[in-house]
């Protein structure tokens, strides 16, 4: 799991490509608009201050990440969103987001407990609260 496996894990590679695709504001804006409706490359390119060619290549990045599908009919190329990969990324990020938040909540609770015990000990010397396990030292 920690080993860097290179091309041996297609799921990891997909996450690589999806997160990389999402790391650019132009590409996020493209996805944004494709969430509304399918659009042509030239329509997608219109709002940007960069060349059509540059936008075309941004779209290729999205296609390689599986986030966008292109269907060419004649000389036009209609781009539409594919929801699967973004949900794979959502699954990943939600898992860690929730897990980590839970870890931090636990830590916060433990610290609060310690704090409580300290102030409690100051007030009553004998009626001590349940001793709490400390967090492992660094």
């Amino acid at each position: 799991m920690l080993q860097v496996v290179g091309g041996a894990d297609p799921a990891a590679d997909l996450l690589d490509r999806v997160f990389f695709a999402l790391s650019d504001p132009v590409r996020r804006a493209i996805l944004d608009r494709l969430g509304e409706e399918a659009l042509l490359v030239s329509e997608l390119a219109a709002p940007f201050d960069i060349s059509l060619q540059a936008v075309s290549r941004h779209i290729q990045v999205l296609v390689r990440a599986g986030l966008v599908r292109q269907e060419r009919t004649g000389r036009i190329s209609r781009c539409s969103l594919v929801v699967g990969p973004i949900q794979a990324a959502a699954v990943w990020i939600n898992h860690y987001s929730k897990y980590w938040q839970a870890q931090f909540d636990t830590l916060a609770a433990a610290l609060e407990e310690i704090e409580e015990r300290r102030s409690g000990a100051a007030r009553l010397t004998t009626l001590r609260k349940r001793p709490r396990r400390r967090l492992p030292d660094p």
Copy 2:
């Protein structure tokens, strides 16, 4: 919103950096382990087949994305997770994931409706095998 604003939108820049940081399997593995416990750079580097220097720079990427905090005491540098930015990314990705899924559900429902109407009409007439319907033409 569609304009490429460069450095004018710190929130967009943060998303850029967070998603970029997540686009590498080594960095995701580092985050994975930091979710368990705070670790030193050398401890983080141990499982990998790359140099300590390379891992150190991966950590810098995570720090620049705000995902990791480093606290140096003496010659050691303890790395710990910061949950905020990953949740910002989770918010972004969940928003779009859910929104897009809803869009697709609506589309799917509409197509099913059309399909149902067609097959119902077909059954009453000839019991023909339902011909597949194309997506609406532009």
